[in-house]
Each structure stands twice: as structure tokens, then as C-alpha cells.
């Protein structure tokens, strides 16, 4: 008997007990949907971590003088202390199709003071308009506006504002060691207050216009400490960083180009860990479903034991009987898969576009240095549904092996005699 006949028998028997088939396939289908959805949520959290861990302040790729880190010395500007043509560099970088935006920064550590209150912190000098395209920190203003280019204006984190007892409209004294050895100091107006959700950031970083910052710490306009990039595909950062290296080299600039996977390795670790979790979820879910399927198949084989005995008595090979049962289970698996896809597709679409926001229930939290909001947004994926589909089919087939073997090995005479 050709294999297609056994397939036919297998498939036909799926329809024999419609209700039982439906219940069994629902076990597999719901398991499938659960795996795809749960992994989708984990991916959602990972992608939020990547987005918040790199999108709030660091950017996805950073370019610095090779000597700049870890000391962050004021003198180790891009291109050495002579500096570099910043505008040209930024334009060249933004010409890459996958670089969304580039922003140059100047960092200074110093004091911010208002009346009796003084806090030690970092002041970052940026072009607010450019920076807003690279990171979201300037988009997280809770009050006020962005610093105007060239004006002695800055925005501070909510916690810093609280410590200084200052708010929008107040004046701060900023003191920082300058590159000429003097003690740079100047007055800046607080024009905005931001809330990033990251405690360190909110407590100790102020963001000012780059020009007055450079003036205060005695740097020239062509001396910057860092260029931060936003890219279209965060997970493609290492490859984009390699291209950026060439762009930087073409500017005759000796610089260190680092993708976020290098400066935020903890997020990469977490992503890898959650990929490992996928297989644990798969094993638990399908492990449970497998016993349900095995039970169904055992019953299906038992109630048709006379039919199989007759087939065997008439000369069918035991392997044919075995195949018919395995094909039946495989058919059940495919049916389940279709039901599963029909179940999960609209759920994925729903949770991707209108994720439930649990912030009111549990609040936001910081994890692996990235702020995470408990928003149950799922991320689409092609690999996960495919992998889960393969596991589902394998489960269905594996669950049928024991019932099929048992049936194929039973001598037909015993069954027909009712023993």
C-alpha cells in the first residue's frame, strides 16, 4: 500500500470523533498561541530595554577619542585636542542610510548651585535640535522648553531640580574646571525640567546648549567629546558601527566607534537569557500538551483495535499500521497549528498595537540599567512562530509513537479473539 493511502487513513480518522479531535487540537493550539504570545511579550520587554537603555541618553552608537574612556578627561576631544570639523563629520555620518541622526556632545563634570544648595553633577552640552533626533532625554521634559542655541540655558532632571530647590525660570551657577586650567563658571537659566525615569540621570545630569558650555570650559567649537548616533535597526548596530568606522576614517579621524552592544552588554546578556527562556517555555507548554495527544491517540488506537487487527490479518504490514497512526497524529498537529495561528494572529496584532499599560498598577522599574514600563506590548517575530510550529508538529508525532508501536505490535489473532 502506498504511503498516500496511509496518509488518507490517518487524515480520515482525525474526523472520526470531531469533538475529541477539537479538544485535543485546542490543547496544542492554545499551547502554541501561549508560546508565541509569551515570547512576543519577552521580546517586547527586551526591545523596550534596548530602546530605553540606548535611546534615552547614550544613543545606539558612540564615537569618541580612543583615549576618552574611562576617565572622560576634558582634553581627550575627538580628533585630539586640536579638534575636528564637527559639522562635516555629522553630515557624513547622517549620509549613511541606516544612521537616523547624529549629535555632538561636550561633557563637563562640575557643580551646579542655587542659593545654599549645591550638587555635583555632569553638564552635557548639545545642539538641542539635533540631540532630540538622537535620544529621547530632551523629549521627556515635564516642564518648560529646550535650551536655545547659543543661550546660557539648560534643562535639569527632576531630582536635581528638587535638590537645588530650583525650577523653570530660576538661575543656576555652574562651575567646572576648564581646559585652560581656570575654574570655569557661568550663570545658566533653567528653562526646562526633564523626567527620564532613570534615577542617576534625573539626579545628576544637566543638559545645556553646546556653545556656552564650550565657552565656559574653554573649548573651541570644533572640540567635542562624543558623537552619538541613532540607527534604524538597533540590533544591526555592530554592523552599522563597522561602516561608521570607515566614514570616520575617511574624515582622517582616529576614533573609537562603539555600538551599544559593547557599552551596554548587560542588555545583550538579558536578551540572550530571554532567548533561553523561550526553550523552557516551549518544553513546559508542549510537554504538557504531548501527554494529552498521547492519551487521545491511545484511545483512538484502542477503539479501532479490531479494524487494525483485520488489516494486519489481511496482510497489511505492521509498519503501515504504525504509519497510519503517526500520520493521523501529524494531521491532528497540522489542524492544531492552523487553529493556533488563527487564535494567536489577532491577539498578536492586538497586543502589538494596543498593549495594555500596567504602569498604574505596578509603576515603572529600572532593570539592567534600562528603564522599563510594564507595558505588555508584543514584538512580531518570524522565527519564533516557525520554531514553535515545528515543535508543535514534532510533539504531535512523538506523542503518537507509543500508541502506534503498541498497536502495530499486537498480534491480530489476540485482538480478534477478544483477548
Amino acid at each position: 500500500m502506498p504511503s498516500s493511502q496511509w496518509w488518507k487513513i490517518g487524515w480520515r480518522n482525525v474526523g472520526r470523533h470531531k469533538r475529541r479531535t477539537l479538544l485535543t487540537s485546542l490543547a496544542l493550539a492554545v499551547g502554541y498561541a501561549a508560546v508565541v504570545l509569551m515570547v512576543g511579550w519577552v521580546d517586547g520587554i527586551v526591545s523596550q530595554m534596548v530602546s530605553n537603555g540606548t535611546g534615552v541618553i547614550t544613543g545606539q552608537i558612540q564615537i569618541q577619542n580612543p583615549e576618552y574612556l574611562p576617565e572622560r578627561s576634558l582634553f581627550n576631544t575627538l580628533g585630539g585636542f586640536e579638534g575636528t570639523s564637527v559639522t562635516e563629520l555629522l553630515d557624513a555620518l547622517e549620509s549613511d542610510a541606516q544612521v537616523d541622526a547624529a549629535s555632538a556632545r561636550v561633557y563637563a563634570g562640575g557643580l551646579l548651585s542655587s542659593g545654599d544648595a549645591t550638587v555635583a553633577g555632569f553638564i552635557i552640552g548639545v545642539d538641542a535640535e539635533r540631540e532630540a533626533r538622537v535620544t529621547r532625554i530632551l523629549g521627556s521634559l515635564v516642564r518648560g522648553r529646550l535650551p536655545e542655541p547659543g543661550a546660557n540655558e539648560l534643562v535639569v532632571g527632576e531630582e536635581m531640580a528638587r535638590k537645588l530647590g530650583s525650577d523653570v525660570g530660576d538661575e543656576l551657577v555652574v562651575v567646572a574646571p576648564a581646559a585652560d586650567g581656570s575654574l570655569g563658571n557661568d550663570l545658566f537659566d533653567v528653562v526646562g525640567v526633564y523626567h527620564s525615569g532613570m534615577p542617576d540621570l534625573d539626579a545628576s545630569f544637566a543638559i545645556a546648549s553646546i556653545e556656552p558650555m564650550q565657552f565656559m570650559v574653554a573649548l573651541e567649537p570644533n572640540q567635542v567629546h562624543e558623537v552619538a548616533l541613532a540607527v534604524s535597526d538597533p540590533w544591526g548596530s555592530p554592523a552599522i558601527a563597522q561602516r561608521v568606522e570607515q566614514i570616520v576614517a575617511a574624515q582622517n579621524l582616529e576614533a573609537n566607534v562603539r555600538p551599544w552592544t559593547e557599552f551596554r552588554p548587560e542588555i545583550v546578556d538579558y536578551a540572550n537569557m530571554s532567548r533561553g527562556a523561550f526553550w523552557i517555555i516551549v518544553m513546559v507548554v508542549f510537554g504538557m500538551a504531548a501527554f494529552g495527544v498521547a492519551n487521545t491517540m491511545l484511545m483512538a488506537a484502542f477503539e479501532r483495535r479490531r479494524e487494525f487487527a483485520v488489516l494486519l490479518a489481511l496482510g497489511a504490514k505492521p509498519s503501515g499500521v504504525l504509519r497510519s497512526l503517526i500520520y493521523e497524529s501529524a494531521s491532528l498537529g497540522m489542524l492544531s497549528l492552523i487553529v493556533g495561528v488563527v487564535l494567536v494572529a489577532p491577539l498578536m496584532y492586538w497586543f502589538h498595537n494596543w498593549p495594555p499599560d500596567l504602569t498604574n498598577l505596578v509603576g515603572g522599574f529600572t532593570f539592567a540599567g534600562a528603564f522599563v514600563r510594564p507595558v505588555l506590548k508584543v514584538e512580531y517575530s518570524i522565527v519564533v512562530p516557525l520554531q514553535a510550529a515545528i515543535v508543535l508538529l514534532l510533539t504531535a508525532v512523538a506523542a503518537a509513537v507509543y500508541p502506534a508501536l503498541k498497536t502495530a505490535r499486537t498480534p491480530p489473532a489476540d485482538t480478534l479473539q477478544g483477548r
Binding site: 562651575v175 581646559a179 586650567g181 581656570s182 575654574l183 563658571n185 557661568d186
Partner: protein, 252 residues
């Protein structure tokens, strides 16, 4: 008569040296520690700072009263003239003439550089006397480089709030002048060296007029202090060291 004079002379000569005990060692180290301060003092000091990136000179006027009060005002260069630092009531304030504001220095910045020099804010305003925080031992007694000296080793007392792991100090026997001081960090590595020279009589005392600080990790960098004026026991009291004075001093 002759005999008694001889005995008297012998008596004085023998005080330093063999009979030098822990008490005397403490006195000598304490004396050096307070050499430039006295009960109260006023001085004019030049400061030359050499770093990898820049070199600059400052001139400043310094007032002090005991361990608790100090006022420093920058006289030159003009761009920074008027910048002033006040230490009073365990607080440190800076006056910034450019923005006409005073700011209080947070405790976390006490160990950071003062005016870009190799001195820390803490060096400038340190409160406790060195003998209160350190146990002192003589680690060498004899002639070194042709000069009769003592070498004292200072180890912090348990619980003493100090930044150094160990201090070694060389002091000349004949006039009790410091030659150099080595500061070691917690790991026992030499962190910086201070050397003294140009011993001169100023304000009625013999003091080293020049003091050079070299950080060990940056041997090409240094800060040199040169005392050009120094007077002791001047007529000032605690009221002199006020925030009002800090601003006024800066504006003068």
C-alpha cells in the same frame, strides 16, 4: 662656672637624638604641620601649576586662624582675580566674581582639585592636626645626603578619617625644617611627593618658602607654591571669616 656652662650646653645638645621619644616626635611633626599657620597668619603665595595640558601661575593672598578658619583670594591673573575660597564652621564656600555668586562646596568634592592645582580642597582646608589622626614613629635617624635628619613614618590611627594610607616625612635635625613628605595611598603605593626648599626667615620664623607637589602617576606635572609674604599672629578673629567678607574680598 666653665663647667656649668659646658654642662648646660651638653644638656641642650643632647635633647634631640638618642633621647627623642614618641612625645617629642609628635611635637616635631606637629610643629612642621603648623609651620605656615601659627595661631593666625596672612601670606601672599604664588602658585605655579604645570600639567600635561597647560601651565599657569596664580598669585593669592591667604588668611588663616587656627585650624578652623581660612580665606584664600586670587590676586592674579586678572581674569580670575577675586575668586575666593572661605573655610569656616566646617564648611567651604567659593566666591565667583564673574557671576558674583558664592557657592557652598559639597563634601563629596573635598578631595577634588583646588583651582586646577595638585592640591585638593581638603589640603587647603584640612581641619584636624596631623598628630590627632596619625601614630608617629621614627623610621630613620642619622645622616642622609650629608644632612643629619629624622625620617618619621606616620600611620593613620584606626578609625581616623584620613585619605592617606601612610605618610613618610624627612625633617632636618638642626633647624627642624621639613625636607620632603611622601604620601602613600591605601594600597601602599606612593601617590604624591612634596619637597621643600628655600628656607627663609619670614614673619619672624624660619620656613621653607618653596613647596613643590608632584603626583606620582604624572611625574611631568607639578604644583609649586612660593611664599613671598608671610606674617604670623596678626590681629584677626573669627568674625573675619564670614561670607560677607568672602564677597567683599572678591570684589576688592
Amino acid at each position: 662656672m666653665n663647667r656649668s656652662i659646658f654642662l648646660l650646653g651638653a644638656f641642650f645638645l643632647t635633647i634631640p637624638g638618642p633621647v627623642l621619644g614618641q612625645e617629642t616626635a609628635r611635637e616635631i611633626v606637629d610643629r612642621v604641620d603648623r609651620l605656615w599657620r601659627g595661631g593666625s597668619s596672612r601670606g601672599v603665595i604664588g602658585m605655579e601649576i604645570v600639567t600635561e595640558h597647560w601651565t599657569r601661575s596664580l598669585e593669592m593672598e591667604v588668611w588663616s586662624l587656627g585650624n578652623d578658619y581660612a580665606l584664600v583670594r586670587v590676586l592674579r591673573p586678572r581674569r580670575e582675580a577675586g575668586t575666593a575660597t572661605l573655610k569656616a564652621d566646617q564648611e567651604v564656600w567659593n566666591y565667583l566674581p564673574r557671576v558674583d555668586r558664592t557657592i557652598k562646596l559639597p563634601a563629596s568634592l573635598m578631595s577634588s582639585s583646588w583651582m586646577g592645582s595638585h592640591f585638593t580642597n581638603d589640603d587647603l582646608v584640612k581641619e584636624s592636626r596631623i598628630i590627632d589622626d596619625y601614630d608617629i614613629e621614627i623610621s630613620f635617624d642619622g645622616v642622609r645626603d650629608g644632612v643629619d635628619i629624622w625620617e618619621f613614618e606616620l600611620t593613620p590611627k584606626p578609625e581616623a578619617p584620613v585619605v592617606w594610607g601612610r605618610i613618610v616625612e624627612e625633617i632636618r635635625k638642626d633647624d627642624l625644617m621639613p625636607v620632603w613628605v611622601h604620601y602613600y595611598d591605601d594600597l601602599g603605593d606612593l601617590a604624591r611627593t612634596v619637597t621643600f626648599s628655600e628656607y627663609r626667615n619670614m614673619g619672624g620664623r624660619l620656613v621653607p618658602a618653596v613647596m613643590v607637589v608632584t603626583p606620582t602617576d604624572k611625574p611631568d606635572e607639578s604644583t609649586t607654591l612660593i611664599y613671598s609674604e608671610l606674617e604670623f599672629d596678626i590681629d584677626i578673629d573669627e568674625d573675619f571669616f564670614s561670607l560677607q567678607r568672602l564677597r567683599q574680598t572678591g570684589r576688592e
